[in-house]
């Protein structure tokens, strides 16, 4: 029996740590530990409720835009505005969030996940004239592109030609990401940490120029998604078909849905969204979303046991570091007492199981290409495919949204902050279900809670001893080479994990600090 610890990063405090116990080449047990997501409620208490949009964006360096949307939906609902947002406001929010998701998914695939499958060092064999490929070739020869270099020696299966092509796409993806971010800036005002999404709508006015400027970038992105991103994901899937059977996980998926297609139903769990709300399991039976079924458990987290089994609105954060059996700062959220995975796979699977025709066609075409059943979606490749398909799904929906905008008409409605109110904001972030809850007293925040996607996916065991989604995806996996257990990295990265509140402190190399001191 051996214990493998994937604890890769030293520069970020509170990163994810995965501990895996391997016996006879099979993962027998897995423990996912993460840092505490504490403090947001303390920071926001007694502040103007509108500060929530500004501050919660700073929780996350990867999906600030999703937090701005969740916080704003939360405040809309607390202020009694959820069904009164002008269509321009609703649509501009969708466009901002859509741009963020496109940028994010492209980044995740090319700059994090693809290197698990694409061997960029093969670019050394490149003899052509492409200046970008030659530049990458030089970088790799000099070792400068580390840590973006291969990590799974011994299991790279693509041909040299495909490896070289994918490396060129890796660079092109940076440019595409820039275009998606620029698209976000057109309506969001700035990137990162947009200022435009506010309770009541958005602060940006809609003009024909902005629509046109958005559209030409969107067209380029759609071209990239259709002709580069999706084909690359499929090429990986063709070469690594066993990954349709690896990393299945807990088999239950939860989606809050996202991108509001209508604004006149105040209930976020019921309103029509592009990506649908609900739950789905391997049998493809759909369940209705009921946020009251969400509870957080802490038996295996460093919090006092008295705070276990509470709904986020009743959530208590009482740290007890070193508690017996506990191994994570992450609580274990459960839905209806069961383990649920969140993320693009959940969004796609719920929308598919609800029979939405566009998603049905997209998913079926991928499944039929691999002669696979929908069950194959519950896998490492299923997650990557779902991420690519959701990117296409939203990018293809956006041109129509642009046409629905009415230049010159309001995108914002005025409001009063109530003396006392409760609010709830639900959306899917790029990594899955994101919920914000607020209680207002005397026009100030009395309590604020966020349950973020990675709390679901990276959660430790719950009070019943059920392992979290990533833990379940790891347990039972066959490890080909214990010295280089690439299966583990591939499984964990397929979840696109995200841990909050990383500190970005830089650390100099080990030289005398006197040499740097200037003040």
């Amino acid at each position: 029996m051996s214990k493998i610890i994937v604890d890769p990063i030293t520069r970020i405090e509170g990163h994810l740590k995965i501990e895996v116990v391997v016996e006879n080449g099979v993962v027998k047990d897995a423990y996912s530990s993460g840092m505490m997501f504490r403090g947001i409620e303390l920071i926001l208490r007694n502040r103007d409720p509108r500060d929530a949009q500004r501050y919660t964006q700073r929780i996350c360096g990867v999906c600030p835009t999703s937090h701005s949307i969740a916080a704003t939906l939360n405040l809309d609902s607390a202020f009694g505005l959820a069904d009164k947002i002008p269509d321009n406001g609703r649509i501009v929010r969708n466009l901002i969030l859509g741009a963020a998701h496109i940028a994010d998914h492209i980044l995740h695939f090319y700059h994090l996940a693809a290197l698990d499958y694409v061997d960029v060092t093969k670019v050394a064999k490149y003899n052509g004239n492409d200046p970008v490929l030659n530049s990458v070739k030089q970088f790799i020869e000099r070792g400068e592109l580390a840590p973006f270099v291969p990590r799974n020696e011994g299991d790279y299966r693509l041909s040299d030609k495909v490896n070289i092509e994918a490396t060129a796409h890796y660079i092109e993806a940076l440019e595409m990401r820039r275009k998606a971010q620029e698209m976000l800036v057109i309506f969001g005002g700035k990137m990162p940490h947009n200022m435009a999404v506010v309770p009541g709508g958005v602060t940006e006015t809609v003009t024909v120029d902005k629509i046109a400027s958005f559209l030409w970038r969107l067209n380029e992105l759609r071209d990239f998604i259709d002709n580069v991103y999706i084909p690359d994901v499929l090429a990986v899937a063709e070469a690594y078909p066993d990954y349709f059977e690896i990393g299945a996980g807990c088999g239950n998926l939860l989606s809050y849905g996202l991108w509001d297609l209508e604004g006149n139903d105040a209930d976020y769990t019921k309103r029509n969204r592009l990506v649908k709300q609900g739950t789905v399991s391997t049998d493809l039976k759909v369940g209705t979303l009921d946020p009251n079924k969400i509870m957080e458990y802490v038996k295996y987290s460093w919090y006092t046991n008295s705070s276990t089994g509470k709904h986020p609105t009743q959530g208590v954060t009482e740290p007890q570091y070193g508690k017996k059996e506990a191994y994570s700062w992450v609580k274990a959220p459960r839905y209806d007492g069961k383990v649920y995975e969140v993320g693009p796979l959940a969004g796609i699977a719920v929308t598919y199981a609800r029979g939405e025709p566009t998603v049905k066609k997209l998913v079926d075409s991928v499944l039929s290409k691999f002669k696979a059943s929908p069950k194959a979606l519950f896998s490492v490749l299923g997650r990557h495919a779902a991420r690519a398909l959701i990117t296409k799904y939203v990018a293809d929906a956006m041109p129509e949204w642009l046409l629905q905008l009415k230049p010159g008409e309001p995108a914002y409605i005025d409001y009063q902050i109530p003396d006392e109110a409760f609010g709830m904001g639900l959306t899917d972030a790029a990594r899955g279900a994101l919920g914000h809850w607020v209680e207002i007293k005397d026009k100030k925040i009395a309590n604020y809670q966020c349950v973020v996607p990675s709390t679901w996916n990276l959660s430790p065991r719950d009070d019943q001893g059920q392992p979290g989604p990533v833990e379940q995806a790891l347990i039972g996996t066959k490890i080909k080479n214990e010295k280089n257990p690439f299966e583990i990295g591939r499984i964990v990265r397929s979840f696109d994990p995200c841990l909050a509140c990383a500190i970005h402190v830089i650390t100099p190399k080990g030289r005398s600090i006197g040499a740097y001191r200037i003040g």
Partner: protein, 173 residues
């Protein structure tokens, strides 16, 4: 420029030559020192050859920079072992830029981003890092008094770096 904006939202005639980027988490006390300093500088300086960017917790903003940016000044909290409030000046060669393989997008740092954009052909004439030793990075808004008291000095050091670059580039022109 009167307020802080990200790159490329400022119109075609705007041609910055220095980008000052503040990185840090405003929710974690002194970790946010780079962001606090950026806001202070943006109130002090209104020149069209300098661009201030509040990168917050999103260090991958470099692809959005204007192509005319020659010098990059990064302001961040730095754990270098000195007394809290100590101000450091680093070059890229002083920073450990490749600590391991990323497992999450959170692990892709400002420096990784710098490598990626250089693969795109984007190179800066110089990159300077101004680091400030934090006292506390616990959850909470605002800087500790010791760090806050250092902001004027840190600001004037950044201004010196900006002027120095301007002097060099005018000499060349």
């Amino acid at each position: 420029m009167g307020h802080i904006e990200s790159a490329r939202s400022s119109g075609p005639l705007y041609q910055p030559k220095v980008a000052v980027v503040g990185v840090g988490n405003l929710l974690r006390g002194d970790d946010g020192v780079g962001v606090h300093l950026i806001h202070k500088l943006a109130e002090m300086v209104h020149e069209d050859w300098v661009e201030f960017i509040d990168a917050g917790t999103v260090p991958d903003v470099l692809t959005l920079l204007d192509d005319k940016v020659g010098r990059l000044i990064l302001i961040d909290a730095a754990n270098a072992g000195g007394e809290p409030g100590t101000i450091y000046r680093f070059g890229l060669e002083d920073i450990d830029t490749c600590p391991g393989m990323p497992i999450s997008l959170h692990d892709i740092s400002f420096f990784d981003n710098l490598k990626l954009v250089s693969a795109l052909g984007k190179r800066f004439e110089s990159v300077v890092i101004i680091g400030i030793e934090p006292e506390s990075t616990e959850f909470g808004l605002g800087l500790s008094p010791k760090i806050s008291a250092k902001l004027p000095e840190a600001a004037s050091l950044v201004l010196d770096e900006m002027r120095e670059f301007l002097k060099q580039s005018t000499e060349v022109m």
